[in-house]
């Protein structure tokens, strides 16, 4: 699988990737990327290729001269707009338009638009909301079927994880089957929602019965941080729970053949935690094959 990170110069692609790798020391002074930079990452034991396309004008021109060779093999595109430079939205949109024209049938569902530099302290400011709305309008002018927009900031590592995980879910061929398994597990344990994370806290799949459950599960992803920190010191962390209204959300560490995973379960039913304890092992067993062939 090949994932392209594309956008104008200074739209935040390198910083996004550095943030994702937790290489923070280079985030604030990343230089303009020259040309194409490739790296490989590992998700559930599968190798994924990340291709970053330095966004300088001359580089863009060069890529566009042979679009098929440069972008033709991509399975997924993250396209970046910088919300701190609204005067460049059109320039960015034109770049995207040129690429998509050259690729002809690249599926809109495999494009994720990142409104980057949406830092937590300015996220709700009307001027920023306006810029994000402008990005959506500009992108929809090119293709109305592009619907995945993410607001990202390196000062909110969850936003990077969320955006990246949405991309991973789009290219995972077994995503639908995994979702079915989660739904099934939630129903047999009377849970309101279940989310499955890899060891980097990337969401591999989630099933939620309503918006509240979605919100709770997303919030609880931060538990992984405590869990990992204790595991560094070999303090064998186990289950982690928070009581919420009449319910409870719990993080369960699980081991699979593809590496350690986390399952977070939210339920308002008192019997859920007992049910989860009895069914967890067989559930993990049932998804092993799916995860082993997640991108095949």
């Amino acid at each position: 699988m090949k994932i392209g990170f594309i956008g104008l110069d200074n739209s935040g692609k390198s910083a996004f990737l550095a943030g994702l790798r937790e290489e923070y020391s280079i985030v604030l002074d990343t230089l303009s990327t020259k040309g194409i930079v490739q790296e490989k990452i590992n998700i559930l034991g599968h190798e994924i290729e990340i291709i970053e396309y330095g966004g300088k004008k001359a580089d863009r021109k060069a890529y566009l001269s042979d679009i098929t060779t440069n972008f033709g093999k991509l399975d997924l595109i993250f396209f970046f707009f910088a919300v701190n430079t609204p005067d460049r939205i059109e320039e960015g949109a034109e770049y995207l338009e040129n690429i998509l024209e050259g690729l002809q049938s690249f599926p809109a569902s495999k494009i994720i638009v990142c409104c980057h530099f949406t830092d937590p302290d300015i996220k709700e400011q009307p001027s920023i909301r306006e810029v994000i709305a402008q990005v959506e309008v500009a992108v929809h002018k090119i293709n109305n079927d592009i619907v995945t927009f993410e607001e990202t900031s390196i000062f909110d590592s969850k936003s990077l994880h969320r955006a990246f995980a949405r991309g991973i879910q789009k290219i995972a061929t077994k995503e639908d089957l995994l979702y079915e398994q989660l739904e099934n597990f939630a129903k047999t344990t009377s849970a309101a929602g279940v989310i499955l994370l890899d060891n980097n806290a990337l969401t591999m799949a989630s099933y939620v019965s309503d918006e509240d459950s979605d919100y709770v599960l997303e919030s609880c992803i931060s538990f992984v941080e405590a869990w990992k920190s204790l595991s560094i010191r070999q303090m064998l962390p186990g289950r982690l729970s928070i009581k919420i209204l009449k319910g409870q959300a719990s993080l369960y560490p699980v081991n699979s053949s593809t590496g350690p995973l986390f399952l977070i379960v939210y339920s308002t039913n008192v019997e859920t935690s007992e049910e989860v304890s009895t069914q967890l092992a067989s559930f993990v067993e049932s998804i092993q094959d799916l995860l082993a062939a997640f991108f095949d």
């Binding site: 290489e23 604030l28 405590a226 303090m235 186990g238 982690l240 928070i242 919420i244």
Partner: protein, 296 residues
Amino acid sequence: MKIAIMGLDASGKTSFLSTLQKKYSVLWNLKPTKGVERDIFTFLDKNISLWDFGGQAKYRRKYLTESSRDLDDVQLIFYLIDITDPQRMDESLEYLKDILSRFESNLPHLVVSFHKYDPDLRGNPQIQELIHQMKDRISNIIPNALYFNTSIFDEKSLWRSFSQGIRKLSSGDELLFSYLAEVASNTNAQGISILDIGGMSICSYVLDEDADWVIESCAHSFLDVWKSINIRGMNPGIIDFDIAKGTTFFTLLTNLSFKLFVLGYFRNKNDQLSFLDQIPELEAKMNAIIDTFFIA
């Protein structure tokens, strides 16, 4: 109360303060601070003035001239050293010496931050050695300084240094600590920490390094999840976390004049329950102590 944040130019003073105040978006284009800039922080409902002493040479000279009143009445100095710039260690040390020599009898409390120690640089042997040497050299100038490794990409490291520094100015700190130690001993607790909603530790008692690690690992992750669920009005309650050598729990203290949280680490559930019994008494004591926290 006058608190100064000092250090050479580009040592990260303004970004340190901006991150503490969650003003992330300003970090992208910080300019050198001109002269002294004043900022107000709130700690336990009290306003605290923080003076950001721009570190360019011309300003440094000015603060140190005999007629300058800039350093008058400073009770606490946060001194930042950029550990990614080893060439400037001597210069930084000279400046620190010059600052301290401005004070005759009433030496301020000193908190030294080895700053820009980003998470991905931890474990770098050169940096570790540099910090080790600098600690030695500084302790020859002034004993009793507190030392921290800090990074804006590890916000808890900023909070830790900041809160421990501020607490040096409190008359109630030792009282609270000895009370917490007493509760810990009565309930067999390995560690107890009181946190405010911003993540600042008001007081922390830990039995050993493991307990310190547990408390540090859990505090911010738990607070993040709690706050996130609380924003949606879903009434987050107690957080429970099983680990090999015991259990941790986290809850809001409901009968205080401020919103504070307690995080406890216990060898077993029974100890945790006996601690729960003590919470009303803890709250009463805390109310009394906190009211006079900064009154000499």
